[in-house]
């Protein structure tokens, strides 16, 4: 009886919005989007091209593109960009590969001390990257991994792994046992089941985890800096060099932010496109 009572109280809450509220709701959402993304981007862009912008004027007094030309003209920047892209791709793929077995176990098997293992997996998120990097940096020096691309990749994976494991185990949890049994009874061996059933159904999770890992790696600064700099120059390391610690350089900071934001934006637009695809949605639909 108590259960029924709770249900009836929750039922109307689910229908909070009706069809006629749609214009109002979408207006609100668009406004929030503009405030959170468009406004800061506009301000950043204005700062990056402003040649003097003092209060109380609302717009900069004059504009210049010289700073953009100066930074984009730096040929080391392209090299840094390529290094960053290479590292980000490798980190993403390795993270996915390493995360999968753990995620499978976390998502599909009950075992003792599961909670403890979960906390252990999330530990890198709780501990600041700087602390990890300082400790790991010391070890890497001994192992000869310091100042190497491999070292940077490994230290970045420490940061990207927890989220990937979480997302993948949540995805694996949703795959019904029956599907796997069905595939098996239709003659599929373990490899075929992974290839034809589990992987396609994990695409949404893989995509989400992959994006997070890619962006996390691409924009990672402190761990890469301690392990890799100055020999390995990733894009963030290169760009942070432009920031003068002795005077607040808003225009330069704006340009740095812009360049670092670009890949994230591109990746998310691509992801949005793919996610809308029918096939992908099927993976998340009911069975």
């Amino acid at each position: 009886m108590t259960l029924l009572a709770i249900d009836s109280r929750e039922a109307p809450r689910r229908r909070l919005f009706k069809a006629e509220d749609r214009p109002l709701v979408s207006a609100g959402l668009y406004l929030a989007l503009a405030l959170c993304i468009a406004l800061p981007l506009t301000l950043m862009f204005l700062w990056s091209v402003a040649d003097g912008w003092q209060p109380p004027s609302i717009f900069p007094q004059s504009f210049t593109t010289s700073r953009w030309i100066h930074i984009l003209g730096d040929e080391n920047l392209v090299a840094a960009l390529l290094t960053s892209l290479f590292i980000a791709f490798t980190v993403t793929i390795l993270t996915a590969l390493i995360a999968m077995p753990t995620a499978w176990a976390m998502g599909r098997f009950p075992f003792r001390l599961k909670r403890l293992v979960e906390i252990f997996i999330l530990a890198p998120v709780i501990i600041p990257g700087l602390v990890v990097a300082v400790g790991v940096g010391k070890v890497f020096l001994l192992l000869g991994l310091a100042y190497s691309v491999a070292g940077v990749i490994i230290v970045q994976i420490v940061g990207t792994l927890p989220l990937m494991i979480r997302l993948m185990s949540a995805t694996f949890e949703t795959i019904p046992d029956e599907l796997i049994h069905a595939a098996r009874s239709l003659g599929a061996g373990t490899a075929s089941i992974v290839l034809h059933v589990i992987l396609p159904l994990s695409v949404p999770g893989l995509l989400a985890g992959g994006l997070m890992s890619f962006i996390g790696s691409f924009e990672e600064f402190d761990k890469s800096f301690i392990v890799g700099a100055p020999v390995i120059q990733t894009l963030p390391i290169k760009l942070y060099m432009y920031l003068d610690p002795y005077s607040m350089q808003l225009p330069l900071a704006a340009i740095v932010s812009f360049i670092l934001l670009l890949p994230a934006l591109i990746v998310f637009i691509i992801a949005g496109r793919i996610m809308r695809d029918d096939l992908m949605a099927a993976g998340m639909g009911k069975i």
Binding site: L186, G187, H196, I287
Partner: protein, 347 residues
């Protein structure tokens, strides 16, 4: 001569808990056999062992003359229709149907031919390009069925495939299934807890309870002359009564003398089906109507005789008797005597 499917002394236990006591069963080629029992009777465990998802603790299974229980699940010549359909949600109907054939390396033109055939017999025309979530429940179940049939297995397994559908659809799919079985003739093992389904579809029914086979027989045998109390109660409605028997004569608790269908002596138990009791209003009758339910095609009464109550059903064409009416009744034909067996000896 060995049967198509032979299950011999199959057991399963988890630690100290026995979920399957030795179970033996043989199914002839082309037979449609239903395993019927309440939830927890061991029927699902038996199915899981047949599929290879679960391992038996003892015993042997032979299918088409070959040892089945030692083969890995993917190498067994078995196809299964699941309760949840278990269609691959990321594959179109055509890909779902072709999946098993592809896994078993059936050549492409042969694959196309077999899919075309199964589309025909399962009536899936025009659905091949749809995704599973674009199908109705009934369509999904037909695809699941087709996906199993297309494998042309030695044995088809059904795990309560109709229980997620609404009553009307269930009825029509039940007929389709029977027709399909008649057409393809694949040996089938159908697991359900729905006695009406079992009665309507099976060549033989295997009644299971508490990890044992209680009784095996055709629907007619099991309904009309069950050996065991459990079968009598599980298949349809019945009145269980104790009689004092001597020879083929018996004496009901309220003194009425009846004829038994076979001789016995001493205290025995009989099963009296509600439809075999004919009642008429009679002021001097021994019984009183205590409830009436009009179900359209049938009228369902409960009668009180002293402290006992009896279930009686009547064709729905007549005017119902009202509660409190005194009635007398006749029994059509001899009354069925149950075997006096405690549960554990039934297997």
């Amino acid at each position: 001569m060995m049967s198509e499917l032979e299950i011999r002394n199959l057991t399963k236990h988890y630690g100290e808990t026995r979920v399957l006591h030795p179970v033996s069963l043989s199914v002839e080629r082309g037979e449609f056999v239903t395993i019927l029992g309440p939830s927890g009777c061991g029927k699902s465990t038996l199915l899981r062992i047949l599929m290879g998802i679960s391992e038996a603790s003892g015993g042997e299974i032979h299918l088409a003359g070959k040892r089945l229980d030692l083969a890995p699940p993917e190498a067994r010549d078995i196809a299964m229709v699941f309760q949840s359909y278990a269609l691959f949600p990321h594959m179109s109907v055509a890909k779902n149907l072709g999946f098993g054939l592809k896994m078993k390396n059936v050549p492409k033109d042969e694959r196309a031919k077999r899919i075309a055939h199964v589309v025909d017999i399962c009536n899936l025309h025009g659905l091949l390009d749809r995704m599973p979530r674009q199908l109705s429940g009934g369509q999904q179940q037909r695809v699941a069925l087709a996906r199993a049939v297309v494998m042309q297995p030695s044995l088809l397994l059904f795990d309560e495939p109709l229980s997620n559908l609404d009553a009307k659809l269930r009825d029509s799919l039940r007929h389709d299934l029977v027709a399909l079985h008649r057409r393809i003739g694949t040996t089938s093992l159908y697991v359900t807890h729905d006695q009406a389904e079992a009665m309507a579809m099976s060549d033989r029914i295997v009644v299971m309870n508490a990890g044992r086979i209680v009784e095996i027989g055709t629907p007619l045998e099991l309904y009309r002359s069950p050996r065991h109390v459990f079968t009598a109660q599980f298949l349809g409605q019945t009145n269980l009564l104790t009689v004092e028997a001597s020879g083929t004569g018996g004496r009901l608790p309220w003194g009425q003398v009846i004829t038994l269908d076979r001789p016995a002596t001493g205290t025995a138990q009989v099963s009296l089906r509600p439809e075999n009791i004919a009642i008429i209003a009679d002021e001097n009758g021994v019984a009183t109507v205590s409830s009436v339910a009009f179900l359209g095609a049938t009228l369902f009464y409960t009668m009180e005789i002293g402290t006992l109550s009896l279930k009686v059903s009547q064709a729905g064409g007549v005017d119902p008797l009202s509660v409190g009416t005194r009635v007398s009744f006749d029994l059509a034909g001899p009354v069925h005597l149950l075997d006096h067996l405690p549960m554990a000896e039934a297997a």
